[in-house]
């Protein structure tokens, strides 16, 4: 998909071009009443600052950018229904179970939000990497390191007040993740080692390392199963809805961090540099930006976010760390980032959807006997359709987002 360029960087200036290809140009202008350089595509997630800064919230654009993900979710759920029907179970029982399990009661909603919280952080981590043109497959590893760092900070410091201990443990977790993330960024910038493979390798190293630390160095000798000691009470994230619900302050922190990352990426010089390096490294270099600095910075920030995902889970839910702690958050976080099209604010609904699917799966299985793994299939299908929007456009006969009217009117037709 060609990205719109601003300012226009066509090889020929507009006047000259209109003289040369006069007839063609007149036709194309009269079609959409736009200068030729914005023809082609309206960027969805990567809307340049110049445009989004003009209006605070462009609802129409927001709706348009959400159209493909929403259609993707609907299509995936329809295919999921076909699979359920094929196995002979009741579609209605399954999906109503899924919905009630996720949103049916206050405690279900609380659990859904708790499930979503690590996805918000880890999804932000992957999205931030995408902004810098880096594919951080290492959220899993960074998350594990963040979790063990936070757990150690949680049980090792004694006698601190909660107002200091909680931020301290969170910071330690974020720092661990940041260091783990910065290494691939540095290697990519300096040695050209591809970050996808390096982060995958770092994942396995992280899994082995945390496994060793939990089983040996930080093992709670009183427990029979290998795990770290419980964190101090002062390090536990406060519960938001009282002791009978699991919802903890980490969820609020996640929202704040998402807003912060949105601001950082779209409104600051740092964010501008990161995006520029991501879109066009050679241009960024030519403009005097340091590729190394921005790669390392973006990966360290990304790792810090993933580390926070682990830290929040330890400090808010588990209160200790067992071996084999992370249940595939790494891959899911990529999926969440893709579903949100790397928009930091879009991560919030995407992560909520993910958390809801995970949380509702139990009741779905109970009500209809369908395997929990159906959720994974639905999730994967959603990502297939989001990653290849052309499929969705083909199925629903949506025109390429060339002319804006066509999308809104014909989107739900078939």
């Amino acid at each position: 998909m060609p990205r719109p360029t601003w300012p226009p960087t066509s090889r020929q200036p507009p006047e000259r071009r209109s003289r040369l290809k006069c007839k063609h140009n007149v036709v194309s202008r009269s079609n959409n009443n736009q200068p030729y350089y914005s023809k082609g595509s309206v960027s969805m997630s990567t809307t340049p600052t110049a445009r989004s800064a003009r209006t605070a919230v462009n609802w129409r654009e927001l709706l348009l950018s959400a159209l493909v993900p929403i259609l993707a979710i609907i299509t995936a759920l329809l295919i999921g229904a076909l699979i359920i029907a094929a196995t002979g179970a009741s579609v209605i029982a399954a999906y109503s179970g899924l919905f009630i399990g996720a949103f049916g009661s206050l405690s279900a909603i609380s659990n859904t939000l708790v499930e979503s919280t690590p996805f918000i952080f880890a999804g932000l981590a992957v999205a931030l990497g995408f902004k810098c043109g880096l594919f951080n497959v290492g959220a899993e590893g960074q998350l594990g390191i963040g979790a063990i760092c936070a757990a150690v900070a949680g049980f090792a410091f004694k006698g601190l007040p909660g107002i200091i201990h909680v931020p301290l443990a969170l910071l330690v977790g974020a720092a661990g993740g940041a260091i783990w993330g910065a290494v691939p960024g540095f290697l990519r910038a300096r040695a050209g080692a591809h970050e996808v493979i390096v982060t995958i390798m770092m994942n396995y190293i992280s899994i082995r390392l945390t496994d060793y630390l939990i089983k040996n160095t930080f093992r709670d000798t009183k427990a029979s199963a290998p795990r770290t000691p419980f964190i101090q009470e002062s390090a536990q994230l406060p519960l938001l809805l009282g002791p009978e619900f699991r919802l903890h302050a980490g969820f609020l922190l996640a929202i704040v961090v998402a807003v912060f990352i949105n601001w950082l990426i779209n409104r600051t010089t740092t964010g501008f540099e990161i995006r520029t390096v991501g879109e066009n490294p050679s241009a960024a270099k030519y403009a005097g930006m340091s590729i190394t600095k921005n790669f390392v910075l973006a990966m360290a920030l990304s790792g810090a976010l993933a580390g926070l995902a682990g830290a929040v889970t330890v400090l808010g839910v588990e209160h200790n760390l067992k071996s084999s702690f992370s249940a595939g958050y790494g891959m899911d976080s990529i999926a969440v980032a893709l579903l949100a099209k790397s928009s930091p604010i879009g991560i919030l609904p995407a992560a909520l959807f993910w958390g809801a699917l995970r949380n509702g799966a139990g009741l779905m299985q109970l009500q209809s006997g369908i395997s929990i793994n159906l959720i994974n299939i639905i999730q994967a299908l959603v990502i297939v359709f989001v990653a290849a929007p052309d499929i969705i456009r083909l199925v629903y006969r949506i025109k390429k987002v060339d002319s804006r009217q066509a999308v809104a009117t014909r989107g739900w037709g078939s």
Binding site: I197, L209, Y212, M331, L338, L374, I375, N376, A380, V384
Partner: protein, 413 residues
């Protein structure tokens, strides 16, 4: 000349590494300790009299190897000799592993032939996966979906083997399943021009979901109903398997391991000595030029990706039909990604990829082998070794690896 050029840094690292290695071992091992590497005759049990027992004084051997490393390191530092860097780093890795081996078995003995045979066996899925990766990347498609393809192959192959009771049909089904799933990758990345890494990740996620679903809704009910099948048989090659040392290592395996041993030279010849190979490499380096020469780039990419899917499916069958006769959730356990690392390690050549695969499988086999021994290093650190080595290789200290130029870029006419 800079004070710290590449050769000097590598030399320093090597010297440091050797010193640390020796100090670490000498802390735990006495000078008198002996390590015995046993070479058994083909078909013999471990208790039978051995063909040859190599008795090495543990610490002395390590000391000599470390001194060799230090000496070469000093030479490299003084002369800043760049040319031997790859050999030097390679021998560093080798000496590291060898040290772990004889350190772990000091005062005891290990069957060297069995260790190497196990290495070949465990290298099978990694090398096959790497060949699948090479086929894709040489024609310009990045394929990180190998993990997912293997998983699907393992699952479908196992289901068919359970249903029919015939493991060979299972292998066929696994191959076809790999081909079917990889077409999704081809469609996404060639037709819809999706980012190829994302497309691969999507397939990995999809494969975990689909195989998990198939396991709970098909495999477990089948097994509960009493369906049992047989794994692929062991097929020792007559005569050849009786050759001492080489026989057990190369000629006493199950079918998929043989297919890997055949595939590596076959692919080398196909890629570098045939018109097909030239075309494949050309569409991976410069598709536009290839198109100008009359090669149908899109069709060729589809065919190569499909073939890669078949190979990856075969690699998947190894897990469920050859190594064990079972299917577990996510049983490939990251081997698909290691295959990619082996591919890069081998600089996108089949033979090199086999070397990379052997490196991984050797440390795997070593770690399995020394589990029984009383050993000071925790097993997690030995398991980490291949990953650390891969990162070192990727950073280009060993010599810059370079992939096909057009890999990852969709081709538009």
């Amino acid at each position: 000349m800079k004070l710290f050029n590449r050769a000097r840094i590598v030399g320093l690292i090597g010297m440091l590494f050797a010193c640390l290695l020796f100090l670490l071992v000498s802390n735990h091992i006495a000078w008198e300790a002996l390590s015995t590497l046993r070479i058994t005759s083909p078909g013999a049990k471990f208790s039978d009299p051995s063909l040859l027992d190599i008795r090495l004084p543990t610490l002395l051997t390590i000391a000599i190897l470390s001194l060799g490393l230090i000496g070469t390191g000093i030479f490299m530092f003084i002369r800043s000799y760049t040319r031997i860097i790859p050999i030097y780093v390679g021998s560093m890795i080798f000496i590291g592993m060898f040290t772990i081996l004889i350190w772990a078995i000091s005062g005891d003995r290990v069957d060297l032939v069995d260790l190497l045979a196990r290495t070949v066996r465990l290298a099978t899925p990694i090398a096959l996966g790497a060949i699948a990766g090479i086929l894709c990347e040489r024609s310009g498609i990045v394929n990180i979906a190998i993990e997912g393809l293997m998983l699907t192959g393992a699952c479908v192959g196992f289901i068919i083997a359970l249903l029919t009771g015939n493991p060979w049909l299972g292998v066929l089904a696994a191959i076809l399943a790999g081909g079917a799933i990889v077409m999704l990758h081809a469609l996404l990345s060639i037709q819809f021009k999706t980012d190829q890494t994302i497309s691969g990740t999507v397939i990995n996620i999809l494969a975990v979901g689909v195989t998990g679903f198939l396991r709970t809704s098909v495999i477990l009910p089948l097994q509960a109903a009493g369906s049992v099948g047989n794994p692929l048989p062991n097929l020792p090659i007559p005569l050849l398997s009786q050759i001492p040392i080489l026989g057990p290592i190369f000629f006493n395996h199950q079918p998929i391991a043989y297919s890997m041993l055949i595939m590596v030279p076959l692919m080398t010849v196909l890629l570098f000595r045939t018109p097909w190979g030239l075309r494949t490499r050309s569409i991976g380096e410069n598709p536009r030029a290839a198109d100008t020469m009359g090669i149908d780039v899109i069709r060729m990419r589809y065919m190569n990706v499909l073939f890669a899917g078949f190979v990856a499916g075969l690699a998947g069958a190894w897990f469920s039909l050859e190594a064990t006769f079972n299917f577990d959730d996510v049983m490939t356990n990251g081997r698909g990604f290691i295959a990619l690392a082996a591919m890069i390690f081998g600089n996108w050549t089949p033979a090199g990829a086999l070397g990379g695969a052997m490196l991984f499988s050797f440390s795997d086999a070593l770690q399995i082998k020394i589990q029984g021994f009383d050993f000071a290093l925790p097993p997690q650190f030995i398991q980490m070794l291949p990953y650390i080595i891969t990162i070192i290789v990727l950073t280009g200290v060993v010599g810059r690896t370079r992939g096909p130029a057009a890999a990852g870029k969709p081709y538009e006419k």
